[in-house]
């Protein structure tokens, strides 16, 4: 028992607590965000990036990772406000969710063929069938 407690504590500390937190996140709750962002890819849960990064991304939608995703001002404002309000933590300077260290760690063992089937790392739902409900445990 004397060994077990510190060992458990160590294990708990070592576990990437933050990454586990992201296995289940609130799905996007705003109808405009769901519709507009979700038109081309999963409407990504706000917790995947911090408010500052969301602001950067939504401030330049006409150059959105190589695509013109520009939107009328009223919709943009709604989207920006939602993500800034609901954002989580992320590494500074990395705009892509799939560049975040927790994302890379979690997908380390995923083979190339699986990514090829999904077509893109943006296509969470190809493997995470509950992604639109905020479920990424699988």
């Amino acid at each position: 028992m004397r060994f077990l407690l510190p060992l458990t504590a160590l294990c708990l500390l070592a576990a990437p607590a933050f990454a586990e937190e992201l296995d289940r996140v609130p799905p996007v709750s705003d109808a405009v965000v769901k519709k507009e962002c979700g038109a081309c890819h999963l409407a990504y849960p706000a917790k995947f990036l911090n408010a500052e990064t969301w602001t950067k991304i939504t401030s330049d939608l006409s150059h959105h990772f190589g695509e013109d995703a520009s939107l009328p001002a009223d919709k943009l404002q709604t989207i920006q406000a939602y993500y800034v309000k609901s954002g989580g933590h992320s590494q500074v300077g990395l705009l892509r969710i799939s560049e975040q260290s927790w994302w890379l760690r979690k997908h380390r063992s995923v083979g190339q063929s699986k990514f090829a089937t999904a077509k893109s790392k943006a296509n969470c739902q190809a493997c995470h069938t509950g992604a639109d409900q905020g479920q990424f445990e699988d």
Binding site: C40, H41, L42, G66, E67, D68, A69, S70, L71, P72, A118, K119, S120, A122, N123, Q125, A126
Partner: protein, 140 residues
């Protein structure tokens, strides 16, 4: 007496019109594009599903290879679901027969023509092109 017979007949005719013409919002959108097309070219007589099909299928050498035609993302058969060439997301069918909601929101239609015409065709679509395109997909 004649009037008494005419009224029910007229009612039947009126009731039959929407059924034949499809969605009122789509019809209004097409009427709007038709007016614009007529203004741009007095010789305009109507939209053509054949010209629309050509827009849907034509490949554009100047566009990014993975999105060099409408059908690159929307599929060879518009009555089936397509897939975003970049993100892999499934796109609901374009053909109205398979997806009756298509082309019923002016905001949505204008947003997608605005983005995709530039990206794929390399220019803003004219009202004639938009009307032809919708007419083609409404016939599918």
């Amino acid at each position: 007496m004649i009037l008494r017979r005419l009224i029910p007949a007229a009612l039947i005719c009126l009731a039959a019109v929407p059924a034949l013409a499809g969605d009122p919002a789509r019809d209004a959108l097409l009427a709007d594009y038709a007016a614009q097309a007529k203004q741009a070219d007095a010789a305009f007589t109507g939209f053509s599903a054949d010209r629309g099909k050509l827009i849907y299928t034509t490949r554009h050498a100047d566009a990014k290879p993975e999105i060099n035609a409408c059908q690159a993302c929307h599929g060879d058969d518009p009555s089936k679901a397509g897939q975003n060439a970049k993100t892999g997301k499934v796109i609901e069918p374009m053909a109205v027969s398979a997806n009756p909601k298509r082309f019923t929101s002016k905001d949505d239609v204008e947003k997608w023509f605005g983005r995709n015409c530039k990206e794929v065709l390399g220019h803003d679509c004219s009202a004639l092109e938009k009307g032809d395109y919708i007419t083609f997909l409404a016939s599918r």
